[in-house]
């Protein structure tokens, strides 16, 4: 039932070269988000790709089941990149030459506001009902609040219903649960690539569901088009391709605002994609986890819940969480909104594995209810800070002559570093990523997002100014080639002047780097 690849037959076709057997190859910069994949490099332009996260895997564990071995492999492959970062995390005081994380998509700009709000007395209520088994869908008071919140911020034409809300511990869980209840083992979802790669693992771990990438091109093919534009034709072709391989596709995943592109779908586009899905009886999972992180007012973001009429409401499932929009990825609060009661009920049944503490549910309800604070304090400030950070990083990249995509939403810039890869291969991409890491800055490479063109990187900018400046200095150093010469590691890291990093102009004093070939510990 769990599709373990046949190692012998699979191995030759999936190993692009000896390099792929190294541990670090699957450590895609974004250790925390577990964005990892291990697909063969594509030589010819492909329209779609069937993801098989377990290809190339081999296990000889005597203690684990076969699927247990694969699951452990997920952990190991992500763990190494993660370990590298966590063993040497940057700290202004204690480890100023540690690794700066521009890889994990977290908003670290508003902790001051959040901690103040979460410490107010209304947040601290403890009562017996919160300590006991809840309704598995989530406490009613929270589901009601989520429905009101989404009605308001998604601008839904009619009030949304608490009955359609299921609360889980994060959107990862929503993906996992939806994959399990919508697909049989081995079935698949379509997803436009590049995409947030962790979804591969979310749908695979419990559900053993695969992703079929709908490859998008960076090249602009005509007027009124943009790089990496998703079209219905591309969806159709990918679907046909998957069907021709005998893969049953059950749904389509859309991320809006898109991660890593920062793209936003117009209502017309959205409508077209939904119509496409309806034609083929596909479920559509719309991940709107960045919906309030649109910091450019001119962008005009529209939630799928704002559409006057959904083409196929019974097959449209929307997810949102506080992880990104409220900078609380560690809080583990995510929610599913679906009019399909069967789906809601089935997902709720899995909530015994994905529950959230009653006390935290209370806090979330209080937070979402406080419209004044959200509208007048949090969102304006958050957007202003995101904008400033974005402006800074965008400026740095322009100065380096690096093309990038960013449309005023999300926490990241999708940067085109192809000019730094002479051969344009994924090996080079990995090597460049590795060089960034050696120079103590963690970014994410395009392969981790199933991007089919080597050379794209995601840079997260939603961090405090001093870390961001230092991170960008290191990026610049690597790209300007200053780092090609191996230097001695700093003799004593702690002797660096403490206030140095507060001044972004002090580029030349950035810490010395490790040599390219030195192993990272």
């Amino acid at each position: 039932m769990f599709a373990l690849p046949e190692k012998e037959s699979r191995a030759p076709s999936t190993c692009p070269g000896p390099a792929s057997t190294q541990d670090l190859d699957s450590n895609c910069g974004d250790g925390l988000e577990r964005e990892c994949s291990r697909k063969p490099d594509q030589k010819l332009p492909e329209l779609y790709g069937v993801g098989d996260p377990t290809a190339g895997f081999s296990s000889n564990s005597s203690h684990l089941s076969s699927r247990g071995g694969i699951i452990k492999w997920f952990w190991d492959s992500a763990e190494a990149g993660y370990r590298t970062y966590h063993m040497d995390e940057y700290d202004e005081d204690k480890n100023p030459s540690g690794i700066i994380n521009l890889g994990t998509s977290e908003n670290k700009l508003c902790f001051d506001l959040l901690s103040k709000r979460l410490s107010q007395s209304d947040m601290l209520r403890v009562e017996p009902a919160l300590l006991q088994y809840p309704d598995w869908r989530g406490h009613l008071f929270l589901r009601e609040e989520v429905a009101r919140f989404l009605s308001f911020y998604c601008k839904s034409p009619a009030p949304l219903q608490a009955e359609n809300v299921v609360v889980l511990n994060g959107c990862a869980s929503v993906f996992s649960a939806l994959a399990t209840v919508l697909c049989e083992v081995g079935e698949a979802f379509l997803i436009p690539a590049p995409y947030y790669g962790a979804i591969t693992q979310h749908v695979c771990l419990y559900g053993n569901v695969r992703l079929v990438s709908v490859y998008l091109d960076s090249e602009v093919t005509g007027p009124d088009t943009r790089p990496f534009q998703l079209t219905v034709e591309k969806l159709e072709m990918a679907l046909q391709g998957a069907n021709s391989q005998g893969i049953k596709v059950k749904g389509l995943i859309l991320i809006n605002p898109q991660n890593p592109l920062g793209d936003i779908y117009s209502p017309a586009e959205l409508q077209n994609f939904l119509e496409f899905a309806k034609r083929h009886e596909l479920h559509v999972m719309v991940d709107e986890v960045y919906m309030l992180s649109v910091f450019e007012e001119s962008v005009g973001y529209r939630s799928v819940l704002s559409l006057e009429r959904l083409p196929d409401p019974q097959r449209t499932h929307v997810m949102w969480a506080t992880s990104k929009d409220f900078g609380m990825s560690g809080l583990r609060f995510g929610t599913l909104y679906t009019e399909n009661r069967d789906v809601a009920t089935a997902v709720a049944s899995l909530c015994r594995y994905h529950g959230l503490s009653g006390l935290v549910q209370h806090q979330m309800a209080q937070l979402l209810r406080d419209r004044d604070w959200i509208n007048q304090v949090y969102l304006p400030e958050n957007h202003a800070r995101l904008k400033a950070a974005h402006t800074y990083v965008a400026g740095e990249l322009r100065a380096l002559g690096i093309p990038f995509l960013s449309r005023g939403a999300g926490f990241f810039i999708w940067a085109d570093l192809r000019k730094y890869l002479p051969e344009g291969s994924f090996e080079e991409e990995r090597r460049l990523w590795r060089r960034f890491l050696d120079h103590k800055v963690l970014v994410s490479f395009g392969k981790a997002f199933e991007c089919k063109e080597p050379g794209w990187f995601r840079l997260v900018f939603s961090d405090k100014a001093h870390r961001l400046c230092l991170g960008m200095q290191r990026v610049r150093q690597v790209l300007e080639g200053k780092s090609q010469v191996a230097e001695d590691p700093p003799a004593c890291q702690t002797q660096e002047p403490r206030d140095r990093h507060r001044n972004c102009a002090l580029r030349s004093q950035d810490n010395p780097s490790l040599g390219e070939d030195l192993p990272v510990k």
């Binding site: 763990e79 901690s115 088994y133 419990y206 560690g330 809080l331 594995y353 503490s357 935290v360």
Partner: protein, 588 residues
């Protein structure tokens, strides 16, 4: 759970079909502890309903026979056949519906149950018979509509299984939620002595959790953390378990993984230790919620090791687990072609309240080692041993484990600290591979950083735990236990008198005539009819009908009221039995 796979093929429809058949023939093995825990119903119509359901099952069986003998394309347009891969699927569905109905979901589905008749059950006249069959036709007709809504091409087969499970439970849960007992507001509401929760110390816990040290906030708590859990919490769990499990050596935080509830830990463990269809041995009766834990996501089966209430040669007490029984169950499973990967133990046992002696534990572990079986040992109630004369020995207290790499211990705060709503469970294992593999689930089964901090503070406060919480909790548990057991003694109801856990395992065989699981279910419904929720033995896969689990860890007032209702139902039951006894000879 002896689901025999007669079609050993691996293709999906066959799988689904055989599974569904297994379920219908042995609806007792449905993973549904809580389902039955919370089944609510209208007592007066239950007797009728049971009969109706038997008829309905027959009707559905007929339908299925028709379906399977007719070529599918006659029934459906071509495009629809894509979704109905095989008639087996329909069959599976219908069987599920029947199971659902039987498990009490009916009221929520808007189906009209036949009206209860006033006379004794076997008095249904010809006219009524006809009416009944009309209603049955109607039911079946409605079912076919239901199928559209229910299968609706939206859910996968496993999704339907999951949904069916939840749906049945959910409707009951809604009824219960809408009519819960409340001291002031709803004294007539349902009293739940079915779900294992400790409500005796909410005052202490509320006070402790409200102290200012609990409300610390730092940026790390709001950000992604180590998937195994925040290092500070894993360190605290290691210290806590070292102390309370009396571990000979300090436990290592690296061996700890924390997830959102023990259910998640168990599910993750089952997933990484077993492939779908493989099995774990489980002495029964046992906490049925674990069937679900292993089943919903990971499709791992539990093979029961049936224990007897009678004391025989090999055993010194009722329901005693012996290595002989384990050997026998393993052999049987192997003969059936089941791959058994491990042994699941609960200590202190739920629902028996038994505590394994050190020697027994050692024997079980040695048995597992002989066959290279993993041992998952659930010690969720380890601090709820309230009788001082009972000595609980944690598996972590053993000087040397026979097979440390295959021994995995689960603990959580739900029972011992009465905070099931916190969703916290911990795994302790020496096996790094297993720990790593389980850690992969940290994303899907993670705990909020804020909650992790509070838990850490709680577990750290040894002073409060040892001097305030545990003594108070134990004395309250003891008092509640004494109250309940005195009542049972007065009613001359046999029960296992153990000094641990939150429950009493009692034998109501006397009140069943004949002593069957059908009668057990009817009695259960009778309790429900009187707004009292208890758990029938069937949900624990007990092989003898008549056993019930009663949770005593509730406040004195609801407990007293519950026992009053309990008494009323039994008196009523007794009266009915007497009437029945009088009538039976007359008929002959």
């Amino acid at each position: 759970m002896d689901e025999t796979r007669d079609g050993e093929g691996s293709s999906q429809p066959v799988e689904a079909k055989t599974k569904a058949q297994g379920m219908s023939h042995q609806s007792d093995v449905l993973p549904c502890d809580q389902l039955r825990d919370q089944v609510i119903g209208n007592q007066s119509s239950h007797t009728q309903l049971m009969e109706t359901l038997l008829h309905l099952r027959q009707t559905v069986d007929d339908c299925i026979t028709q379906l399977t003998t007719r070529p599918p394309q006659l029934d459906l347009p071509l495009e629809e056949q894509r979704h109905n891969q095989a008639t087996g699927e329909q069959e599976a569905f219908l069987r599920r519906v029947v199971n659902l109905l039987q498990s009490g979901a009916m009221w929520g589905l808007g189906l009209q149950a036949p009206r209860p008749t006033l006379g004794p059950r076997d008095d249904a006249g010809g006219g009524q018979q006809a009416q009944l069959s009309r209603q049955l036709d109607q039911l079946v007709h409605q079912l076919s509509h239901l199928e559209v809504a229910f299968v609706s091409h939206d859910l996968s087969n496993r999704g339907i299984d999951i949904s069916a499970f939840e749906r049945s439970k959910f409707q009951d849960f809604k009824t219960y939620q809408g009519d819960k007992y409340h001291e002031d507001k709803n004294t007539m509401g349902f009293i739940n002595l079915g779900v294992s929760e400790n409500k005796l110390c909410t005052d202490l816990m509320t006070e402790r959790l409200s102290r200012s040290d609990m409300n610390h906030l730092e940026d790390a708590l709001l950000q992604y953390s180590d998937q195994r859990g925040q290092p500070f919490l894993r360190e605290e769990v290691a210290r806590f378990l070292t102390y309370y499990c009396k571990s000979p050596a300090r436990l290592d935080p690296e061996n700890v993984v924390v997830l959102s509830g023990c259910c998640s830990v168990f599910s993750a463990l089952a997933t990484v230790l077993c492939d779908p269809g493989e099995a774990l041995l489980t002495p029964t009766p046992f906490f049925g919620g674990l069937v679900m834990g292993s089943y919903l996501y990971s499709k791992v089966e539990l093979m029961p090791v049936h224990l007897d209430s009678e004391i025989t040669d090999g055993s010194a007490r009722p329901f005693q687990l012996t290595v002989d029984k384990l050997e026998q169950a393993l052999l049987e499973a192997t003969l059936k072609g089941k791959k058994v990967r491990g042994l699941l133990l609960i200590n202190p046992q739920n629902p028996l309240g038994d505590v394994y002696s050190r020697d027994s534990l050692e024997e079980y572990l040695e048995f597992a080692k002989r066959y290279n079986l993993h041992v998952i040992i659930d010690e969720l109630y380890m601090l709820s041993v309230f009788d001082d004369s009972v000595t609980f020995r944690s598996v972590l207290s053993m000087e040397s484990l026979p097979d440390p790499n295959r021994t995995h211990m689960i603990w959580g705060t739900s029972k011992d600290f009465g905070i099931s709503g916190f969703r916290f469970g911990a795994l302790y294992t020496h096996n790094k591979e297993v720990a790593s593999a389980v850690s992969s689930f940290g994303f899907l089964n993670g705990i909020s950083g804020i909650t992790q901090y509070k838990l850490c503070r709680l577990l750290q406060d040894r002073e409060w735990i040892d001097k305030v919480y545990l003594p108070t909790n134990h004395s309250r548990l003891k008092a509640a236990h004494r109250y309940i057991t005195n009542k049972l003694k007065a009613l001359k109801i046999p029960f296992l008198n153990r000094g641990s856990g939150l429950y009493v395992w009692m034998n109501l065989k006397e009140y069943l005539q004949p002593c069957t699981f059908e009668e057990e279910l009817l009695l259960h419904h009778r309790f429900l009819g009187n707004k009292l929720i208890l758990s029938p033995g069937k949900t624990y896969m007990c092989k003898e009908p008549g056993w019930f689990r009663l949770i005593f860890s509730d406040k004195p007032l609801p407990l007293k009221l519950a026992m009053h209702r309990f008494y009323e139902v039994l008196a009523e039951q007794k009266r009915d039995l007497r009437v029945k006894q009088l009538e039976d000879p007359q008929k002959e």
